[in-house]
Symmetry: C2
């Protein structure tokens, strides 16, 4: 199933680096760090950036998996990580894929 159509679940396992890299193929634009994935989105002003942050919030609430958001004029940096595994889980890639889909719908 497409990552963007999957649901986050609790009790997930940490991903091995090769597993994260494989999932990363389905989340273009996201950079994989040791314990998180991150993507920068650009907008034409502050309000548009916040509008995007609010749409991300709806996804985060639905999936009960919340990112860190760094919002500045015309820019949102989204950072995803799974605290329960102190690193990356499939949940991060599921939310990343859903966020990418938001952009396609924009």
């Amino acid at each position: 199933m497409n990552l963007a159509d999957q649901k986050c679940e609790s009790g997930v396992d940490p991903l091995k680096p090769e597993e994260a890299a494989k999932l990363g193929e389905q989340t273009p634009g996201w950079e994989i760090a040791e314990k998180s994935i991150e993507r920068t989105f650009k907008f034409k002003n502050f309000v548009e950036a916040m509008r995007f942050a609010n749409r991300i919030t709806a996804i985060a609430e639905e999936e009960n998996h919340h990112p860190d958001l760094h919002i500045s004029w015309g820019k949102v940096i989204v950072e995803l990580s799974t605290h329960s595994v102190d690193g990356l889980s499939i949940n991060d890639f599921i939310v990343a894929a859903k966020i990418n889909r938001l952009m396609e719908q924009a």
Copy 2:
């Protein structure tokens, strides 16, 4: 006049450190760094943090002076700086005072 009742203006001058320190007396909770001021606000969950970020956005738009926001679960770090002076101006303290007033109204 109370800082929170003032309006941001363009063409402001950079503040000297002692001027910034003096204005900082009117913005309790804000830490003064060399080129910015910053305050951390705590909330009970992600949605409450985003709600606060949206209320800050309304102030920022009205004053045409926008912060950087770092939002995570139950937390918003607000960072204010004046790009036109590459440091601090009175505008930063005006917006900080207005944000503090938001908290008093919450």
